[in-house]
Amino acid sequence: MNAAGAAPGAYGPHARKEDARFIRGAGTFVDDVALTGMLHGAVLRSPLAHARITGLDISAAAAHPKVEAVITGQMLAEQGLAWMPTLSGDVQAVLATDKVRFQGQEVAFVVAQDRYSARDALELITVDYEPLPPLIDAKRALLDGAPLIRDDQPGRTTNHIFDWEAGDLQATDAAFAGADVVVARDLVYPRSHPAPLETCGVVADSDRITGKLTVWATSQAPHVHRTLYATFLGLPEHKIRVISPDIGGGFGSKVPLYPGYLCAIVASMRTARPVKWVEDRSENLMATAFARDYHMHGEIAATRDGRILGLRASVLADHGAFNATAQPSRFPAGFFSVFTGSYDVPAAHCQVRAVYTNKAPGGVAYACSFRVTEAVYLVERLVDALAIELGADPVRLRMRNLLRPEQFPYRSPTGWEYDSGDYPRTLAVALQTAGYDDLRREQAERRGRGELMGIGVSCFTDAVGAGPRAHMDILGLGMADGAELRVHPTGKAVLAVSCQTQGQGHETTFAQIVAAELGLSADDVEVVHGDTDRTPFGLGTYGSRSTPVSGAAAVVAARRVRERARIVAGAMLEVSPQDLAWTGGRWQVRGDPGRSVGIPAIAMAAHSALDLPDGIEGHLDDKAVYNPPNLTFPNGAYICVVDVDPGTGVVTVRRFIAVDDCGVRINPMIVAGQVHRGLADGLGIALMQEISFDADGNCLSGSFMDYLLPTAVECPSFELAETVTPCPHHPIGAKGIGESATVGSPAAVVNAVIDALRPLGVTHIDMPMTPANVWLAIEAARARDGRE
């Protein structure tokens, strides 16, 4: 389906428009913004994970000759600004007033004439801390008598945040009771970090005379930020302009508001000068935007011959010191309940319990579409565990249980309605691309020689494009997106959208979308985004929602313009609009191919003296607000091939095959790039990325020396293929692709490593599968063998 009447050739690989500036080093990132008289901020952070603040002396810092202001929590409290709302309806300290609750928490903000002096002045501030016992382990945080982290909340007596469940408990218990086989696994999805290459930052410019606040920020959701600033700061919303200039990657980490942004804004208001604050890398890793940290117990029930009967999961979710998780308000555990994945599972139930710990807040959707990554990891590990238990080939077991095309639209046992897919074919394409049978033969040979080669499979279903506003909102803002399209007299168009690119190539893809609808060249469509004064309202770019929601809004706006154009064309050709058909990107008189007009001519006419029929005012523009009827469900089948060095535990990813169904592909080149990114992500998460802590709550992963991200050497050359089942409810059948590979790939890597270690009897290793962790598992298995 698609693109009913889309101009031929508009979809397809198209070099990106945004590249022209980036390859010349001419992008404008937040740290590139330099305003006259601009000051520089730096944040003083807590060295302790849990402590009461008993004294704070800023006098020496304030006396530094280049320091213009020092802001403390107390000063903010006087303005009622010491605590800010989080995206989950909790509050978070902007600057600590009473206690610090995680290492790296914001304590004071220094503003100086240059960034070096601001950093120097931090050393001049003394803080007295009375240490409190830190709670790092989520399980211990729930024990009776555990120290209370959030004593700022009146009446609170425990560290428990919420309990949430989905599915039919009774039906699931019954399914388990009647099953031949039940397999359980405890799985930790470790705390991770999106770590975009550009850290977070802001330039706040409060104009004393006009009262206008302009905020250049690394924001994936500029409109949401504007509304939050308005309500939190008590500023009139039309006096706030949020600009997200070029953004160096986001991956969910640039959705929330951070204390540094607010400090810079307050500092700008106080000093009446622009204030820049850009976090350094350790601030980014220690205090900004963690993801995951799900401690899961999963169980799968099946018949002896491999028919899955039920799934259960119970999760302990570590939310850190403030509940700042980013997800639609009514989904405190995100879309975790989509955890039945790609399978026809008759009964399922999951429960999630969230707790506070003395760790950084966050819980952002790190390319995970709101906890779908955790969900997919759980089910894909459980299916592999079942395969081991049954002695079945993991591929055959999956084939047997995958949803079949005729089951769509499919209602899952936890209530999701999957749109479309051909899962068996997608897996078949993956097997064929990989040469699965040959790989298994090679593996057998290698095993004969004592070599450890593993093949891991993961089938996944993502849930993206949030979402229907009746169900989904963020702090009360429904998740619908606007789009405004203007066609200039000469037929060149400007599309303004609310979503914001951080590298996804919206300036190109969205131009192609409009071009396809209007029979224009993508080069003739300019996309405006990332500036709240110039774009319609919308919720931003995350959860793979740009194409599913804003993309759809652009299509609807373009189709409205096309209908207006039809009326004008009718007047031009002197026929009734009803007698026109949209053909080959032009309005053509039915049955008379010789008489047709294209959008440029129509646009000129619409702006001219042409006498237009009633009901049309002239000019050629329109807008739309798109409220998606449902989520979209991109899906895929991934195969990973690894080699494990038994002497060192080092894992090498030799091949990675990814077959994705993201519906209709607007720009396949960009789609492939999105998949590549996610595969590298998955490999990194599976093998090396972890934010870890010692028992005192010191973050052990506060730099790129210890928070390891994959390089070009660890990544194999990725092998991609596709299937296409258009989304039936999206106007052009697109489903979104931004996060699929991050969602689907970690399980494939882990399954591959476990498969490699099968001859040794290893059945599970938690991520990240570092050389040490792999070797320890091998040793433990050998020790067990020795005992037996």
């Binding site: 050393e123 350094d280 070797w775």
Partner: protein
């Protein structure tokens, strides 16, 4: 981005000038070579020297040459210089093995051999490689030069015998007739510091090991070497069993500590495993007439 604290800067134009400057500014001055250890430490404010004496202009200290069979490396030779030297690749293969896995190509462009040794990081790779090669280091001070065996150069983590006012100027590696050498390292990712690494040098005559050198890093070995394992090899037949036993001995005598990169037990295992791998490769090279 983190930034260094205030510091003064002097650029030396010759070794003599550098020594004069070092004398003038005293113990709160630091030699600045590639800066790829020092500047990151200054950014984190773990190092706060008062004055930097930049020695990058001392082209007289930037060379890699072989004279009388002996390899001589100027302290200011960059990692990349060592890697580019064909004669090093042929005759001191351990150094190419090591340099291929030290940091990353861009860091190697600027970090220096002398800086690496003087940094004396307990996980430094070249310290182990030069320990295996039984190199001699040349130190120049106000009173002239002195030489110190690589194995007596490091006095502790981040400490060496180079006194304030002195410069490391040269590294000398003796020729080892009939020898082969190799380096084996395990890290978590390209560009990562070693979890453990081992360097080996073997000189064989017929089937007998006439000389053995084993260097270890990141596992708490004194002076970056495994002398007990070396003793087990010298004069012994070059058999797989011997090499394996040497690995066991090396593992037994090192003193790794647990950290988030891995537990001590794992690092100890690696010390043994990598020692054996390096020895095997060194032996192959010795036999192939490679060195």
């Amino acid at each position: 981005m983190q930034v260094p604290a205030q510091v003064e800067y002097e650029r030396a134009v010759s070794v003599g000038h550098a020594l004069t400057l070092l004398a003038r500014y005293g113990p709160r001055a630091a030699v600045l070579a590639g800066g790829h250890s020092l500047i990151p430490m200054m950014k984190l404010r773990l190092a706060q020297p008062e004055t930097l004496i930049d020695i990058n202009a001392l082209s007289e200290l930037r060379y890699v040459e072989v004279a009388d069979g002996e390899l001589r490396v100027g302290a200011l030779a960059r990692h990349a210089d060592l890697l580019e030297s064909a004669v090093v690749g042929e005759r001191f293969a351990i150094l190419h093995d090591a340099e291929q896995v030290i940091a990353d190509p861009v860091v190697r462009n600027w970090g220096t051999v002398g800086g690496s040794l003087c940094q004396s990081d307990p996980s430094e790779d070249l310290s182990a490689a030069f320990a295996a090669l039984k190199a001699t280091l040349v130190i120049t001070g106000p009173d002239g030069t002195r030489t110190v065996p690589a194995r007596r150069f490091h006095t502790g983590p981040y400490e060496t015998v180079v006194a304030p006012g002195e410069l490391l100027t040269e590294i000398r590696v003796p020729a080892s007739p009939g020898g082969g050498s190799a380096y084996a390292k395990v890290c978590r990712r390209a560009g990562d510091w070693p979890l453990a690494a081992a360097g080996a040098m073997l000189a064989v005559d017929g089937g007998t090991i006439v000389e053995a050198g084993i260097g270890l890093t990141a596992v708490g070995s004194r002076h970056f070497c495994a002398s007990e394992a070396e003793e087990h090899l010298s004069g012994a037949p070059a058999t797989p069993e011997r090499l394996a036993e040497a690995g066991r001995i090396a593992a037994q005598h090192c003193r790794p500590v647990s950290d988030q990169r891995g537990p001590a037990s794992y690092k100890r295992h690696l010390a043994g495993e990598l020692t054996v791998r390096a020895l095997r490769r060194a032996l192959l090279r010795a036999r192939a007439g490679e060195r």
